[in-house]
């Protein structure tokens, strides 16, 4: 449990998807003009991350990594399908996004109306693919079991959500300020993200357990 909370807090604040790894910057910049839409996209990303990362983890453990197929038959134990992981991960992500869209539309129409336009966009959001690739890189090294992966997936999603709502709130206020003409829009958004990232660096070193 302590490990779960530790990884969860670390993925939100220290290894924040936007501020530490710049993942999902495209939609972060494009959809951060108002807090309401930013919030919708944040929820959608968290939701999809929380499903895709554990699924990709199971695939990585039982199909893709070296010797992972040993459970099926001993003669398959020497096979390493690691090179296929990019194509499998992206296919799984595209597929899950499609399924999530259909399920949400059927069972939660209110949520669908809120997330609807964002869900297809998420398939090509770097944060989703990036989280799966980070998971693959760190598994066995930093993350040891399934609950660690769940903590990482949830924490990364919430960290991304926090970041996009934060920048959207600042950009809403910024409409009233006198920004130099060439810097308006994109330029100032980058700089503010940079300043927010510097602020988030103060969380570095937080560790709940040793």
């Amino acid at each position: 449990m302590e490990n779960f909370i530790n990884i969860f807090v670390q993925s939100i604040f220290i290894d924040n998807m936007i501020f530490a790894y710049f993942l999902g910057m495209c939609s972060y910049l494009a959809v951060s003009k108002s807090v309401k839409t930013a919030n919708g996209l944040g929820i959608a990303v968290t939701f999809v991350l929380f499903i895709t990362v554990p699924v990709n983890y199971l695939l990585n453990e039982f199909v893709l990594s070296e010797g992972a197929l040993a459970w099926a038959s001993r003669s398959l134990g020497g096979i390493d399908l690691g090179f296929l992981s990019f194509i499998v991960f992206i296919a799984i992500i595209a597929w899950i996004v499609q399924v999530v869209e259909m399920v949400v539309e059927k069972f939660a129409p209110a949520l669908y109306n809120q997330l609807g336009i964002f869900l297809p966009l998420i398939a090509v959001n770097c944060a989703i693919m990036g989280a799966s690739l980070f998971m693959q890189q760190r598994v066995g090294d930093v993350y040891h079991n399934f609950s660690d992966i769940l903590a990482f997936a949830l924490g990364s999603g919430i960290g991304w959500w926090l970041a996009i709502v934060g920048i959207a709130a600042i950009r809403e206020k910024m409409k009233y300020s006198n920004v130099p003409k060439p810097l308006q829009g994109l330029g100032i958004s980058f700089m503010i993200t940079g300043l927010m990232a510097i602020a988030f660096m103060s969380f570095m070193g937080i560790k709940l357990i040793n």
Binding site: F19, F22, I87, A91, I128, M129, L183, G187, I188
Partner: protein, 210 residues
């Protein structure tokens, strides 16, 4: 666009249609791999190869892909090319491929690729599409190299790993100079890119926000 303005297709990505500073595509990797020049150049080359050939392949297939599954087809073509690039990098420049870590895999979700396929390759002949892909990859690479140049020179005092600032200037050797440690950290990449956009838009006034 017919092929007689091929020159325009080639030059737009360097100025009015730059993928990073104007269209805001592929920002994620543009920031993460720019601490040193060498990985930045390797990344720029990889992206150029993938954009060029994915544009070429999709353009050849543009009349046979059913509209409803085109996104999946595009993702699969891109993922296959990225796997090839990843294997080549691992074989020939293993150190750099270790430094680039997950960002090679993230070329798949780099928005430049999908953006160019949707906007250009699906509606144009193979040769102009190939030129457009290469030019966009190079426009992206140009920004990468500018940011990496600034960050490596000011942050480490080196270029391509060679010492540029004389050793005798450093405070450790009785001089006055210190490397700027902040430049190496993630936030400064955002701020430097913000400044590049600022300079670009002050020169090219058409790009300013209305």
């Amino acid at each position: 666009m017919s092929s007689n303005n091929g020159l325009k297709v080639f030059t737009t990505p360097f100025n009015n249609g730059n993928p990073v500073t104007v269209l805001v595509l592929g920002v994620c990797s543009a920031l993460a791999v720019t601490v040193k020049l060498q990985p930045a150049i390797v990344m720029a080359l990889s992206v150029t190869v993938v954009t060029g050939f994915s544009n070429l392949i999709i353009s050849f297939m543009r009349n046979t892909i059913p509209n409803s599954i085109r996104i999946i087809v595009q993702l699969l073509v891109i993922a296959a090319l990225v796997i090839l690039v990843n294997e080549v990098l691992k074989a020939y420049v293993y150190d750099v491929s270790k430094q680039l870590s997950v960002y090679v895999g993230l070329i798949i979700t780099n928005c430049i690729l999908m953006g160019r396929l949707e906007a250009f390759a699906l509606g144009n002949k193979p040769i102009p599409s190939f030129v457009d892909g290469i030019a966009n990859g190079m426009g992206y690479g140009m920004i990468l190299i500018i940011v990496a140049f600034i960050r490596e020179l000011l942050g480490s005092g080196t270029l391509f790993g060679m010492q540029i600032i004389p050793e005798s200037w450093y405070a450790a050797n009785g001089g006055f100079y210190l490397n700027n440690g902040l430049i190496i950290l993630p936030p400064m990449a955002l701020i430097i890119l913000g400044c590049i956009i600022w300079v670009h838009r002050s020169i090219n006034k058409d790009l300013q926000d209305k």
